[in-house]
Every structure is written in structure tokens, then in C-alpha cells.
């Protein structure tokens, strides 16, 4: 049996040196022992201390290359409180010689065992971040903070930097049975094991904390097992609030029953004079014929003519001067338009703006609106996919488009795409065949059809895109010429 003595329970460098020497000497895992100096481990009859080897030659060093994953794993594993962790670490090191990918084979018995223990170590570290409770003390330098904590694994040194980052401007100490950590505002130091009586026994704010803990608990939702799964009983003795648990649990059913059984009392008399007005009484009438664009705007927000309002954020009305000679009608608001409440501000809007500019049309002279005022879509994860409104929805929304046309009285109405054409003409047009040709409307204005700018965005082929954009701008320029 080969024996190595380590300086402490978490002496990773000592273990690494010894394990390297063992592997160089060909010591089988079953024959290797690691003991911590000062512990009561009795030496075996045939134990042979292994003397420190001379530093290995470069060739030997190459033979000892281990994957970084192993070193990371072992550094955490050594913090586990199990006595046989050194052996597991050495067994993994030994096996790496023939199985260089071993650490990636997480279904392997040894690797799975190591990962399970590492998980427990990480959890202990996480719970330390959660369950350390500082108490305030005063000393010569002013206020300082002291906590007594008993971690299930040896995670003090691994976890202390977290407290350093979080409480940089406080002087604090964390005392544990394994050792202590001290932060004085400048340096983090570690010291000897401590005992509970070295930490303060109380803190005046703790009563507030207990009050909060008790008040935030909902007795109608008792789930003790869930609580214990996350806050194991072993932690309770150092958590001031945990003392309340038995009492809160015992009283919960009575509290809930009283709540449920108590008849609804008379409303508070303050009610009558303090209450804010009922919004839904004052909802604008969506059936009244709009007399101006403001009526259209408020009417659209209250519109229930089709179900599209449900999943949309808001109705999006047209924008532009009341005296506009050109009205441009799109299909419906898109994702961005729905959020911001303004027509044609998204990607298609940018294409339109650029094309208008090239055709010599000032967008601020144009009234821009949509055939359908709410965004029809389908949720797909974190996004919303556009869906084409159906004929019924277009028909329902004509009430608003017709109102806009009646109030603006444009000379020319430019319909972008088939949906806008449908809303304007009452029939589904063949956009590609009919584009650019003037169509007389019953109110004396002229309709012109062209493609929707989002069509340009969807074309995959650059050459086709360039050509489609040229034709689109040509249609716009023709409209501009028509208006003189």
C-alpha cells in the first residue's frame, strides 16, 4: 500500500503532486491511499510513504497531460465531505491513461459518481450564498458583520469570493467548523475553524425579518415538502426565520378555514367616495359613424367587429395630413406597428419610405393606413408570425377604412397588395396584372394597385429584388405624375 499525506482536507495541490507520483510509479488505484495530516487515520502495516519524485522529464510530463475537464472536476470533488473522494479522484486519473475521453463519458459509473458529488458541492456552495445570515457587531472600527454557518461540504473558500464581490464595502467574517473567512474591505483571508459561540447570538433586525417571513407566507397554499426540498432541515438551526415554521404550519389550516368560512362583509364605507371611475362605462361607441379622425382613432381601440383585437396590442390607425391628396393603404400592422401603435414603421415601412423618396413623394404629404387595423398573427416562441387577414376580417374593417376615405377625400388611393385591393375594390384583384392602371372608385377618386413592400423583402434573389423594387418605384412615380 502506498500512502500520501495531504496538508488538509481540501489540499488539492498536495493531492495532485502525490497522485502524479503514484501514477508515475505505477501504483494501482486499489493500492493508493491518501490521508490528511493530523486526522486519526491509522496507517496500515504495509504502508509505504512515497517520497517526492524528482521533477519529471519533459517526456514524462507529456504522458501526464490530463484534460482540463478532469482538473476542474477534481478541484470541486475534493470539497465533498465523503472520505473516499481522494480515491475516486485517483481512480479517474488512473483510467484517463487508457480512456482519454473518460470525463466526457458522463454515463460511466465513476464519472457519474463524481458528477453527482460535484453537483452536491455546487449545491452546497449555492445554498451557502443563500443561507448565510450576517449579524451586526460594533468594534473599534465601527460596524462589522459576522455569520456562523455549517456547510454540508467544504465550500467556504470557494464561496467566500461571492460575498467579497457582493459586500465589498462591508467588513465581514464567515465562521464555519471547517475554517473562517475574513474580509476587511481590502483582502480576503482564511483562518482556523470556529465554533458557534464565537458569532453574535442576535441582531435587532432579525425580528423584522421574521415578521416579513411570517407575513409573506400564504396559509392557503401549504406545501411543506416543497419547502424542505429546497431548504433542508439541516440548515434550519442557523436560519433565524426557520424557528417560525412549526407554528406557521400548525396554524395554517385554521387560518384558511376561517378565511373561507367567514361571510363576505359589507363593503368599506370609504368605498363610495374613494373609488376611481369605471372605465368600461365610458367606452366609446364603436357603432357611431365617426365625424372626424379622432373618432376613428378612439373607435378603432374599442372595435369588436372581428376577433383580431384579442391578441393584438392595439388598433393602428392611419397617419398623415387630413388634406392629403394621396392615401396609401397597406395590409395590416406588423409586429413593430402593433407595439408602437403607428402604421408602417417596421421593415416594410422602411422599404416604403425609401421608395417614396426615390419616386419624389414626401411621406409627410401622404395619409398612410392599413386595410385591417389589428395585427393578425400566430405566436411562435418569442416571435409572432404574420398571418394574412381573411375576407371576413377585411370586410369588418372596411367600416374604418371607408371612414378614413370619407374624411380625407384623397384624389388617389394607392393599394399595396391584394388585401388592400380587396378592401378598396370589394373583390380580390390580380395585383401583377392590374398594377399601375387607374381604377375609378364610386366616390370619384382613383384607385391604383401595386405590390406590398414586404413582397420586396421576401424575394430571395438579389436580381429579382432589384427589378421588383424598380417596378415598385415606377408605380409610385406614375401616381405622383397622375396627381400633377
Amino acid at each position: 500500500m502506498a500512502v500520501a499525506t495531504l496538508d488538509g482536507e481540501t489540499d488539492f495541490d498536495g493531492w495532485r503532486k502525490a497522485a502524479r507520483a503514484f501514477r508515475l510509479a505505477g501504483v494501482e488505484p486499489a493500492a493508493a491511499r491518501f490521508v490528511v495530516a493530523g486526522t486519526m487515520e491509522q496507517g496500515g502495516l504495509f504502508d509505504q510513504p512515497i517520497a517526492e519524485e524528482a521533477s519529471p522529464t519533459p517526456d514524462e510530463r507529456r504522458a501526464f497531460n490530463v484534460p482540463k475537464e478532469f482538473v476542474d472536476l477534481a478541484q470541486k470533488l475534493i470539497l465533498h465531505r465523503s472520505a473516499d473522494r481522494f480515491d475516486l479522484m485517483y481512480r479517474l486519473l488512473w483510467r484517463l491513461k487508457d480512456e482519454p475521453d473518460l470525463i466526457k463519458v458522463i454515463s460511466d459509473r465513476d464519472v457519474a459518481d463524481a458528477l453527482e458529488r460535484v453537483k452536491n458541492v455546487s449545491r452546497a456552495s449555492h445554498k451557502m450564498k443563500a443561507f448565510v445570515r450576517f449579524r451586526q457587531v460594533q468594534d473599534d472600527l465601527g460596524e462589522a458583520w459576522v455569520a456562523w454557518f455549517e456547510p454540508p461540504h467544504r465550500v467556504l473558500e470557494k464561496t467566500a469570493p461571492f460575498f467579497q464581490r457582493r459586500f465589498t464595502t462591508m467588513r465581514w467574517s464567515i465562521l464555519t467548523p471547517d475554517g473562517s473567512a475574513f474580509w476587511d474591505g481590502e483582502a480576503l483571508r482564511f483562518g482556523v475553524p470556529a465554533t458557534r459561540d464565537m458569532a453574535p447570538a442576535e441582531d435587532e433586525i432579525e425580528d423584522f425579518w421574521k415578521t416579513y417571513y411570517a407575513s409573506t407566507f400564504n396559509p392557503a397554499r401549504l406545501k411543506v415538502k416543497t419547502m424542505q426540498g429546497e431548504m433542508a432541515k439541516s440548515y434550519w438551526k442557523n436560519l433565524p426565520e426557520a424557528a417560525l415554521i412549526p407554528e406557521l404550519v400548525a396554524a395554517s389550516s385554521v387560518r384558511t378555514e376561517t378565511m373561507v368560512a367567514t361571510p363576505s362583509p359589507q363593503p368599506n364605507p370609504r368605498f363610495a367616495r374613494a373609488v376611481a371611475p369605471d372605465l368600461h362605462m365610458a367606452r366609446p361607441d364603436a357603432e357611431a359613424v365617426p365625424e372626424n379622425l379622432e373618432d376613428v382613432a378612439s373607435g378603432v381601440q374599442a372595435c369588436r367587429r372581428c376577433p383580431l383585437y384579442r391578441d393584438a396590442t392595439q388598433g393602428v390607425c392611419g397617419e398623415g395630413p387630413k388634406s392629403a391628396r394621396l392615401m396609401i393603404v397597406g395590409e395590416q400592422p406588423g409586429d413593430q406597428e402593433d407595439l408602437a401603435g403607428r402604421a408602417f414603421i417596421g421593415p416594410a415601412g422602411q422599404v416604403l419610405n425609401a421608395a417614396l423618396a426615390e419616386a419624389g413623394i414626401d411621406r409627410s404629404d401622404v395619409y398612410v393606413t392599413n386595410a385591417v387595423k389589428h395585427f393578425k398573427h400566430e405566436p411562435r416562441g418569442k416571435r409572432r408570425l404574420h398571418k394574412t387577414p381573411n375576407a371576413g376580417e377585411v370586410q369588418a374593417c372596411r367600416w374604418w377604412l371607408d371612414s378614413e376615405r370619407r374624411l380625407i377625400k384623397p384624389q388617389v388611393v394607392l393599394a399595396l397588395g391584394a388585401t388592400a385591393g380587396l378592401a378598396l375594390l370589394g373583390r380580390k384583384p390580380a395585383v401583377m396584372q392590374e398594377r399601375g392602371a387607374p381604377i375609378d372608385l364610386s366616390d370619384g377618386s382613383t384607385a391604383v394597385l401595386t405590390v406590398h413592400p414586404s413582397y420586396l423583402l421576401r424575394l430571395p434573389d438579389e436580381a429579382a429584388k432589384f427589378e421588383a423594387r424598380r417596378l415598385f418605384i415606377e408605380d409610385l412615380a406614375a401616381v405622383q405624375r397622375r396627381m400633377g
Binding site: 475521453d101 466526457k104 463519458v105 458522463i106 454515463s107 457519474a112 450564498k129 443563500a130 445570515r133 450576517f134 455569520a147 461571492f162 464581490r165 457582493r166 459586500f167 465589498t168 462591508m170 433586525i205 423584522f208 415578521t211 416579513y212 417571513y213 407575513s215 409573506t216 407566507f217 397554499r221 401549504l222 406545501k223 411543506v224 415538502k225 416543497t226 419547502m227 429546497e230 431548504m231 415554521i245 406557521l248 404550519v249 400548525a250 384558511t256 378565511m259 373561507v260 367567514t262 363576505s264 368599506n268 368605498f271 374613494a274 373609488v275 376611481a276 369605471d278 372605465l279 368600461h280 384579442r310 391578441d311 396590442t313 392595439q314 402593433d338 407595439l339 408602437a340 405566436p379 418569442k382
Partner: protein, 412 residues
Amino acid sequence: MARLDLRRKLSVLADAAKYDASCSSSGTSKRNSVGGKGIGSTEGMGICHAYTPDGRCISLLKILLTNFCIYDCAYCINRVSSNVERGRFDVDEVVDLTLNFYKRNYIEGLFLSSGIIRSGDYTMEQLVLVAKTLREVHDFRGYIHLKLIPEADPKLVEMAGLYADRLSANIELPRDEALARLAPQKDVGVIKKAMSQVRLGVEAAKPAKREKIKPPKFAPGGQSTQLIIGADGAPDTEILDRSASLYGGYGLRRVYYSAFSPIPDSSSILPLSKPPLMREHRLYQADWLMRFYGFSAPEIGEGASNGMLDLAVDPKLAWALNKREQFPVDVNRAPREMLLRVPGLGVKAVDRIVSVRRYRTLRLEDVGRLTRSVAKIRPFITALDWTPGGLTDAADLKARVTSRTPEQLSLF
């Protein structure tokens, strides 16, 4: 004496805030107090500092600034017509409590909400003032979650986003009709517009590639909302459709589901019964399936009956029992998306399987070491030395995989 008053207020205003299920303190930008004048850090993963016997975690100091309110929402303990004891914190009292709790490592930060007093603008201003004081006077770098008062001026929402990690406006009721009936002063359109503003703000704060000047911060922890379950008649499928629409529309980090809980001094128009906790649990599971497992709301609905999720089995199992023709799945070959659909396989287990099968062909025993319980999974997979045979199509499969009683026992 003054201290006693403050403790009483804390009790009233914590009690008043506890029906909001949100507690998360994760997912915000990383920062710490090194080099600062104050305290506080956020490192990605949130920390739950305590758990109460209702199984919920305490991560943040969750309180109302005041529980006086001019609204009359039937489901809310703080509605104007309720006889509940009222209280109001000063801005400094909240700031001191937050710092005192934080220094003792009780909390990750503050979750501040409020009843509506005077107006939406005034109330939001007060909430923003607390956050501003914590950040600017005390250089507090912990987590702050502010409740949005949807009616407030967009400028105040902008300020809130500057100081807070997370913002939330609660939709509260899955059905708009119910909101109009039970919360006559609230308008779902106004709530949605506030959520839109937050999404646009969060997106605008993300620096574009190669952008030299960083845009000002805006709610780096995103936004969330809450739906109350069981106060209106909405079935589960409708609730999940609603959630899908909210996730897609407003980039929410979370939708919280809160089983309607009997409240003291409750309104007579609401159900007075124990909260439907199992239903809430199933909805959370379904929500997880939508966010991490590639399920759509309609797919989950396929496993429901009359719009309600099965309370006896989890929604993924319910779906799989209906879709047995898609099973068994070969753990050694199936794409990740299909492994995610195997009942009993979580995201972590799937990632482990995908990673290890590059080096080894998996046996059932190996799968067992990569997952929590192989017994539940067995009927739905094949491995090198395992095929479920007729088990996948067995008539009593549902009973076999749910043999353990789901009822939880009290340990006291």
C-alpha cells in the same frame, strides 16, 4: 414605539403583496459592488434566500409601498371596498428596510409594488423614487423589480426601466371580459401598451453590433406578468393560448400563474375555496414545455380534455400517451427535439444523452445514470440493450407510469 409601528406596517404591506407569485431575481446584467460606494451584486443565477411553508421562495423583499387603493378589483385583497388594515411606507423606510435586509444576506433585492393612490402617475413616481434613491444615493447594485402602473405616463416607465432590473405589469385575468367585469378600473389595452413599451425599451437598450456608444440601460432582466387561475371561467387551453400570445408579443421572461387563493374579507362574487394548486402546477409544466421543449400551445391542448389539462399526469406524458405512434424513441439516434418529447426526460438529461452518445452507445443502465428515474422513461425509448416491446402500446401504460401517489403528505 416608532419601531413597533414600522414592524406592523411591514406585516401589513408584506401580507398585501404576497399574492403576486413573481419572485425571480435571475437573468439580469452581471455586476457587483467592487469599486463602488455601496453594496450588492447580481451574477446571473438568482438566489432564493429562504422558503416559506407554502413552498415559495423568498428572493426579494416583496412589499407594497401602500395598500391604499382607489381601484376595486374583486380578486384583490387591497381593493378599495375591502376592510383590510391599511398602511403606507415612506420612501426612506423602504430604502432602509431593503438595505438592512440585504446587508444581512436575507434577500437579493427589492420587489416593490403599490396600490393606486391619487393617480397612476403619482403612484409610479413614488415607486421610481424608491428605486432611484437606492441606486443613486446608496449605490445599491442588487436586484430591483418594479411593478408597472400601466396607466402611468410613458416617461415614468422609461425612468423605471433605467433603475429597475425587471418590470412587470399583471394581466391578472386570462379573459378580457372577466377583467372588465372584475376589475372595472383596469383596461387590458392599457396594460398591453405598457408591456409593448417595455419590450421596445428592452430591445432599444441592446447595443447593435459594432455600436460604439452604448444605449442607456433598460430593464436588463426583462419583464414578466401574472395570470390568476380559477377566478374566471377560462379553461387551461385558453390560458396557454394567452400565455403563448404574451410570450410572442412582449418578449416576456416569465408568465406566472397564481392559483386564486381565498383572501380575507373577500368579495362575494368570487369562488371561496382552496386554491387549485395542482392545476397551477400543471400550467407551469405546460408553460415550461412551451419555453424549453418546443411544444406549442395547441399541441399541449391535444392532451387536454374539455380544455383542461389532466391533473393526474404531467402534460408531456398526457401528450405522449395520445401520440404513442411517435414512440419508442432511440436514445442513440433520435434528434434532440424528439428526445425532448420523451416523458421523464428533462432538458439537462437530454443534453447529457446527446453529449455522451458521441463517445458511447447507450444501454438502459447508462440512461439510468443520466436521468432521475429510468422507470418512467423506459416505455418510450429504445437503447442498445432495451426495447419496450408492447409496453409502449399497453392499455394500462398510464397507470403503470403513475403508480406513485401524487398526494403530498404533511410532515408535521
